[in-house]
Amino acid sequence: MSLEPNFTPDSGDWACARCGAPLEQIKVQALYMHSAFAVILPRCPSCGLTLIPQSLAEGKMAEVEALLEDK
């Protein structure tokens, strides 16, 4: 089971409040129950703060969580 690779913010023009930098789509690791997935998410290129859109959290991520919990 793999996540769709690229998720952008659901809406809005988001920037890192601390660094002031606009977010970039950067590959990061998502981990759950001894499984890891590569996923491209909006991230601050400077400090690494990463945004998880609601649609991802309640959609694909919830699905994968349930699948892994049933493994």
Partner: protein
């Protein structure tokens, strides 16, 4: 884990897969129900296929069958048994042959059949279709015996079947059927069948073993005439064919050297299927207008009268059992297979966690099949082997921790006695949910109990531990039981007055030597006369599933209702058959959709406002219908809870309610000011719609406040340059909370949205470097 033998015992209790009465009545195991279903659906070819699959010599059998299925039919007293025999005749006529069995080259072993009666030909049919060559010895013409026994049989139909038999290596040899022929055949053939209807030397039926019909050595016998109670002798076609078939199995086993008796339980005809007949309207038998044979239209109508016998009594009542579209026998098997999975997906996890453990099915089931036992055992097993889905019960267990933790739990010894080191004779245990949503009423009841009961009363507010038990976490339950025991012993082992039926059952498990009485029984004792109450005139009563078998509880509730002037009208399935509101078994946490269906289904069964004695029942029904808790009608508590009955406090409010109760109780009875560490107040405005969405996602107000406080503290947040919204995340435990909010001019914040997930993404929470692979909290 369940042993396979235990599974079989459990499975056997569910009769849904057992054969209907028509089929068990048929010695040939004809699947009459499916046949009728095909006919009713107009699938005539499929119907004929079924006849050909189950019946030997179908053309002959359908013509001469004495249809014992019709005597067994449950429609018999509801308009008349299905006309199965006439429908079979119709089907044979309406549709040509559908199956063409493969003729195999004959095997080495041969069978001799003495006598071409129905039993002999059935044995020849069955054995020849297994690939053995068969020689049938007969006197006169080969058709004679059958035509003599069954005059209604048309010669052409018989000839056709006999010709078909010959293709399957069946030879017909005329011979005198006597004992010398038998001796000769027993030596020359691998096995011999003697048709008792044609061989005078055959033994009586009673001399043979009924399971195998073995006479001696390699010889079986069957095809006897039967006699009526008045002594008249007749040939029962189905019985004779059945004997031929049964002996055929033995003969085949003789030919192949297999045990004659092993694994033949399936041949025993037993009515096990329970079919409820309530609500089935009578419907008269359709008779052929022409007088002798059905038209297709008539046949379909007649077949459609079939009740389609099936049990499903528990499934009809339970949204959980309905959800996965199966019945307990299948669920048992799935749960067993699920537990056997070493690597791979556990598809039945959802099944074990969807049960409310309410026990209704066990009461309704004629065989008392208990899904609760099965699901609870599966949960305990999953917890023990560390394969329980983490999220299923996590929120409920956190709630239990909050209810029994420092923040909410408290123990107040009766102030009048405590000063001198004395203990109350009783202990009021309101339970974590009354404490959460009805704090004022709990205090009012406690004040009353102290006044009304001699010997003093202490107040212990905590969780009873039932969530741990329901979640299958026995270790946690035992640990909690030890805490309860300490408190109980500290208070001088008082009688416990429980206001919640789940608490009663948990306390009885945790403290088996304690006297645990329901608050309602006690109140019923100390409030002998009627009392005034502003309540609906007549009400339904919901018996909570935890008090399903507690008649004293049920009686006390009705008695108190009567004293309040309420006329109780019993709803469908009350008492021990009561249905769960969806709170039981933590199904509200694991599968809220199932829990909601349960609440809705049960609420729909009430025609009047409903009176509950369990606060969770009250709460869950309040969303569907007018529901009152006993606290809402009792004079001691009704006023303290004005307007509470129709509001359903959310999850955040419940936790806050417990904290508030503790503060008030400690202040009132111990004179203590709140010792809770006061955090600097954070003003977080949460609009109603956002609050409701949070409830559905199990996000508490406290979580959101903590998240905003944390995010503002670290400064790790995003800003939306279009509208100035702030977004940040916080992971206090196994869940990451995201909060989108605005900073208000007055220093407060307004929440715009909140969501959560369990997966860990590096950098998505702060401090990022501390993110480690999570461990299961409750493992």
């Amino acid at each position: 884990m369940l042993e396979q033998s235990q599974l079989h015992v459990i499975e056997a209790r569910c009769t849904q897969e057992a054969a209907p009465r028509c089929r068990t009545a048929c010695p040939l195991d004809m699947d009459v129900r499916s046949f009728l279903e095909c006919l009713a659906a107009g699938k005539l070819r499929d119907a004929r296929k079924l006849l050909e699959r189950h019946l030997p010599l179908p053309g002959v059998m359908c013509a001469v069958c004495d249809h014992p299925c019709e005597n067994a039919c449950l429609r018999r007293d509801l308009g008349g048994s299905l006309a199965v025999s006439a429908l079979e005749k119709f089907c044979m006529k309406a549709v040509p042959v559908q199956t063409k069995p493969l003729v195999r080259p004959p095997k080495g072993q041969k069978l001799a059949v003495l006598g071409a009666g129905l039993a002999g030909l059935t044995a020849a049919f069955d054995i020849s279709h297994k690939g053995f060559a068969v020689t049938v010895y007969h006197e006169g013409e080969k058709e004679d015996a059958l035509l003599a026994a069954f005059p209604v049989l048309e010669k052409s139909a018989l000839d056709e079947e006999l010709r078909a038999l010959e293709k399957f290596h069946v030879r017909f040899v005329p011979a005198a059927l006597d004992e010398s022929l038998l001796v000769q055949c027993a030596g020359e053939y691998g096995a011999v069948f003697v048709d008792a209807s044609t061989c005078s030397f055959a033994p009586g039926e009673e001399e043979l073993d009924g399971v195998t019909l073995l006479w001696k050595d390699n010889i079986c016998c069957g095809g006897w005439e039967k006699s009526t109670p008045t002594g008249a002798r007749y040939a029962s076609s189905s019985a004779q064919a059945g004997e031929g078939r049964k002996a055929g199995i033995t003969l085949q086993r003789i030919l192949t050297g297999v045990s004659l008796v092993a694994a033949r339980e399936g041949e025993i005809r037993q009515d096990r299927l329970h079919t409820p007949l309530e609500g089935i309207a009578p419907c008269a038998r359709i008779l052929p207008a022409s007088g002798d044979a059905y038209t297709e239209e008539e046949a379909r109508k007649e077949a459609d009268r079939c009740i389609r016998c099936s049990c499903m009594q528990c499934v009809k009542e339970c949204p959980f059992l309905q959800k996965y579209k199966e019945f307990p026998r299948v669920y048992a098997r799935k749960l067993y297979n699920n537990a056997s999975v070493v690597r791979g997906t556990r598809t039945a996890n959802v099944i074990m966690n969807g049960c409310a453990l309410c026990g209704q099915c066990e009461v309704i089931c004629p065989e008392h099949f208990s899904m609760a036992d099965l699901c609870l055992q599966a949960r305990q097993d999953a917890v023990e082997r560390d394969v329980m889905p983490v999220s299923a019960h996590e929120f409920a267990l956190e709630d239990m921790a909050q209810a029994s933790g420092q923040e909410s739990a408290f123990l107040v010894e009766d102030p009048a006695l405590a000063a001198e080191g004395g203990h109350g004779a009783r202990m009021f245990f309101p339970g974590c949910q009354l404490a959460a949503s009805r704090g004022e009423q709990v205090l009012a009841m406690y004040r009353y109990l102290r006044e009304a009961l001699p010997g003093g009363v202490s107040l212990y507010s905590s969780c009873c531990g039932i969530p741990a038990y329901w979640a299958g976490r026995e270790a946690l339950f035992n640990e909690h039981a030890a805490t309860l025991r300490n408190a109980w012993e500290e208070c001088g082992r008082p009688e416990i007055l429980a206001a919640c039926s789940s608490c009663m059952s948990a306390l009885k498990k945790a403290l088996p030597e304690a006297t645990v009485t329901s608050l309602w029984e006690k109140l019923d004792d100390i409030m002998p006369g009627p009392f005034s109450s502003t309540t609906p005139e007549s009400m339904n009563v919901q018996d909570p599933c935890g008090a399903r078998h507690d008649e004293a509880w049920q009686k006390a509730v009705r008695s108190l209702a009567a004293k309040a002037g309420i006329q109780v009208k019993e709803a469908k399935r009350s008492g021990n058959e009561s249905a769960c509101c969806g709170y039981g078994g933590l199904v509200w946490n694991a599968q809220p959709d199932v829990a909601d269906s349960m609440a809705k289904k049960r609420a729909d069964e009430f025609s009047l406002p409903v009176l509950t004695s369990c606060i969770m029942c009250q709460d869950r029904f309040a969303r569907e219908t007018q529901s009152l808790h006993l606290f809402d009608i009792l004079p001691q508590t009704a006023r303290a809870g004005a307007d509470l009955a129709q509001s359903s406090p959310g999850l955040s409010a419940r936790r806050a309610g417990r904290v508030a109760l503790k503060e008030k109780a400690l202040e009132e009875f111990l004179g203590q000011k709140s010792a809770q560490a006061q955090q600097s107040a954070l003003l977080l405005r949460i609009p109603d719609d956002v609050q409701q969405a949070m409830e559905r996602r199990y996000i508490l107000r406290q979580d959101a406040e903590e998240a905003v406080r944390g995010i503002e503290g670290t400064g790790a947040k995003f800003i939306n340059r279009e509208n100035g919204h702030v977004l940040g995340s916080w992971r206090p435990r196994n869940v990451t909370f995201w909060v989108e909010y605005t900073a208000d001019d007055d220093g407060g914040f307004t929440l715009v949205n909140a969501w959560c997930h369990r997966m860990v993404v590096a950098g998505a929470i702060q401090p990022a470097e501390k993110v480690v692979m999570e461990e299961r909290v409750h493992a």
